[in-house]
């Protein structure tokens, strides 16, 4: 940790930067780049999925019918709402309204946790229905195309698992932010951190929309 300049009104400037604007710009730009790499990480799986969705159109559409559209939609709604609360939190921190900002951060945290809980319930449900073809678990598919359905569920677990992992990371970040906001030591710094974390959260939201569309909505 660099030590020299004491915290000022505008927050601490790290050694390597000339001023706070340069630091903020660099941080934001870095986050955007990171999100670009994340997009490509998911992009590989998305591309694979789309290829097989085209090859095995009917089978995949049928397999998608075995997912719980209602729960999926509910989850989408929860996550989009959390995007809103996160955006509000960002504004409130900027306006130095500490308690309201804290409330919004906690709301985001709660919505995200609810999302994961519902996701876990869905997975459990699929496990009970023997639709979880991973770890050598039995796969018993009632439809016409069990082989292709197995491939579909492979993708389903790969994509939702990867997304849930990103959600989990996001929740940890939100937890840290909530603690920092509660302490309120260095408001300008908190504002920058909330802005950057907000970008990440929005990205996870958008990813889910794509995942939801590909897996749940493209059905018969």
């Amino acid at each position: 940790m660099p030590t020299t300049p004491p915290p000022t009104e505008s927050g601490r400037v790290a050694d390597q930067f000339d001023d706070i604007d340069q630091q903020r710009e660099a941080n934001l730009f870095g986050m955007w780049l990171f999100l670009a790499t994340e997009l490509l990480l998911f992009g590989g799986v998305f591309a694979g999925f789309v290829v097989f969705r085209v090859i095995h159109g009917e089978a995949f559409a049928e397999a998608a019918g075995h997912l719980d559209l209602a729960l999926g939609t509910l989850n989408t709604a929860l996550l989009l709402t959390s995007g809103l609360t996160m955006a509000l939190a960002e504004q409130l921190v900027n306006a130095a309204r500490r308690r309201a900002a804290l409330a919004m951060l906690l709301a985001t945290l709660a919505l995200g946790a609810a999302f994961l809980a519902i996701k876990a319930y869905e997975w459990h449900h699929e496990y009970m229905e023997r639709l979880m073809p991973v770890l050598g678990l039995p796969f018993e598919y009632p439809g016409k195309h069990p082989q292709q359905a197995e491939l579909f569920f492979n993708f389903y677990f790969a994509l939702t698992g990867l997304h849930a992992f990103h959600m989990l990371v996001g929740l940890c970040i939100l937890g840290v932010l909530a603690i920092l906001t509660w302490r309120w030591r260095d408001p300008p710094r908190i504002a920058r951190q909330v802005q950057i974390s907000g970008l990440y959260w929005a990205f996870v939201d958008v990813l889910w929309v794509v995942v939801f569309t590909l897996l749940y909505l493209l059905r018969l």
Binding site: Q16, G30, L33, L40, F42, V45, F52, E150
Partner: protein
């Protein structure tokens, strides 16, 4: 002259204090992190080199008599995995790039110093996984991990090796991200884009590829692991998957990865040739455009690895066409380096010998790439020693030569010391001669039809294989010598002073070794890069 009495030895510098473990393992100084990388990649280089030596010794006779077939397969897989992911990809960016990029930009450090340190730890973790794979019996899939062999058939530590490569990928993503942000946001006043040294441009383009292509590799390696662990069938034809999908995704990363390996070398060579020609690089703008177009076009040629794998005829023709196009910027670069020598004042120092070797070897490597891009020829020589020779001309003849050249060029800056002039020239020449002796015979072997990754071979290929193995011996001298005299110079080398080569560039304006934060005050740039004048002196 001893250090204490030489006025050119700075009283303050980044190596002076903090020699405890904490001072190194928890440092956020980009220059010290460069040293961490330098030590690690050197260790991996010699590990990979040892495997190569055993491979060459096995191939000195036609029957498989030195090691068993399974051992041989593990050796060439180890050689490929270690050399590609743990040496070539990090080599110049993570060592010289890490050290020099902030200095060339006039910055005090990279934008994210702790991320930089983290990337070294990630690299080390990946390396440990790979070593675990070696200790756990080795991996025998080749560095390409082709399915379904890697997922269904191989009885070796595929998962550990794949995890190692997966993890090390994040290290290059983090480095790339750091470089891009630093180049965009932290240039010194007056340092416009078109005043940047070509080394910075090359590292910038490399970083773009690292950031955009590596995630796809991570994704495909992840899929391999889950396929092997959980038996899902994305690449398994028996379950409705497609093994060619793996090859597409793999080469979508791994072809641009070739440019990750060569672009920084081009940057290094541009710096060296300009300095020892005492002349600005010929066609600076053309060089910048070439670097960037190589980075972009590099993404649309991956299919040339699959000309006989079964893609459609017209896809094959398109990829062949783009491959010819991507060769054009490389050809321009070779021409511009040569043209820089015209009416120059050429000093044949060790770095210059390396740089000129690079131009020659890279030309051969690039033009044999043209032969391979000629799609009908590729059907014959694909997966033969012709391909092996071609990519070694690019990766060893190109990247390793330029890496050593760069290391010799900036060694005085890194350490404040000079090395033996005579021995360094001997080493540079040994590299050039040994390299050609090792790999030129392999072009002939390849056109004769000797396939790659063969543990034993028909007897009439013996002569050329013996030549190749002897060359590898000379090449080994070219690698071991620098290790010796560079280590020696750390303690006994003469004091170099701030700018022993009388080179331009911000890194040469300060003492050697530099201060912890590089510059006493932020520099101001008023002229383009390479303000050399050949008519002076």
């Amino acid at each position: 002259m001893s250090v204490s009495t030489d006025p050119r030895w700075p009283s303050e510098h980044y190596l002076k204090e903090d020699w405890g473990l904490r001072g190194w393992l928890l440092t956020t100084d980009h220059k010290r992190i460069a040293w961490l990388y330098l030590v690690s990649i050197t260790a991996f280089f010699f590990l990979g080199g040892l495997a190569a030596l055993l491979i060459r010794l096995e191939l000195i006779t036609p029957p498989g008599d030195l090691v068993s077939a399974d051992t041989y397969n593990r050796l060439f897989s180890l050689h490929g995995i270690v050399m590609v992911w743990f040496f070539l990809i990090p080599s110049i960016p993570a060592t010289l790039g890490n050290f020099l990029l902030p200095m060339m930009l006039g910055a005090r450090d990279l934008a994210f110093p702790r991320l930089n340190l983290l990337s070294w730890y990630v690299y080390t973790l990946g390396g440990l996984f790979t070593l675990a794979a070696v200790i756990g019996g080795g991996v025998d899939t080749g560095w390409t991990f082709y399915t379904p062999y890697s997922t269904l058939f191989s009885n070796s530590a595929v998962i550990a090796a794949v995890m190692g490569v997966f993890i090390v990928g994040f290290s290059s993503i983090l480095t790339g991200l750091n470089f891009i942000v630093t180049t965009h946001k932290m240039r010194a006043p007056g340092l416009t884009w078109f005043r940047l040294p070509l080394f910075v441009w090359a590292n910038y383009a490399t970083s773009l590829i690292m950031v955009l292509a590596t995630p796809v590799l991570s994704c495909v390696l992840m899929l391999i692991s889950v396929e092997r662990l959980f038996g899902i069938g994305i690449f398994d034809p028996a379950l409705g998957g497609d093994p060619l999908l793996f090859q597409h995704l793999f080469w979508f990363y791994s072809h641009p990865a070739v440019y990750i390996m060569i672009l920084p070398g081009m940057g290094v060579v541009s710096e060296i040739i300009a300095c020892f020609s005492r002349k600005p690089v010929f066609g600076y703008q053309g060089m910048v455009i070439s670097i960037m177009s190589i980075a972009v076009f590099g993404f649309v040629v991956w299919g040339h690895h699959m000309f006989v794998a079964g893609q459609s005829l017209y896809a094959g023709l398109m990829f062949s066409f783009f491959t010819f196009l991507v060769a054009l910027p490389s050809a321009i670069k070779a021409f511009n380096w040569t043209a820089t020598l015209y009416k120059a004042r050429i000093i044949f120092s060790a770095p210059m010998i390396y740089a000129l070797s690079f131009v020659g070897l890279f030309t051969i490597g690039g033009l044999t790439g043209i032969i391979l891009a000629s799609i009908a020829i590729d059907v014959h020589v694909h997966d033969t020693y012709f391909v092996t020779a071609h990519f070694h001309y690019i990766m060893v003849g190109g990247m390793v030569t330029s890496y050593l050249g760069g290391l010799h060029f900036w060694w005085p800056k890194l350490t404040g010391r000079m090395y033996s002039e005579l021995w360094s020239k001997v080493a540079a020449l040994a590299l050039f001669i040994g390299f050609n002796l090792t790999f030129f015979p392999q072009f002939l072997l390849g056109y004769q039809g000797m396939p790659r990754r063969y543990h034993e071979y028909p007897a009439d290929f013996e002569l050329l294989n013996v030549m190749s193995t002897l060359g590898a011996g000379v090449l080994a001298i070219g690698y071991l010598l620098p290790l010796l005299y560079l280590s020696w110079s750390l303690r006994f080398g003469a004091v170099a002073g701030g700018n022993p080569w009388r080179a331009t560039g911000l890194e040469w304006t300060v003492d050697s070794p530099p201060l912890k934060h590089n510059f006493p005050r932020t520099p101001r740039v008023t002229e383009p890069a390479y303000a050399y004048d050949p008519t002076a002196d």
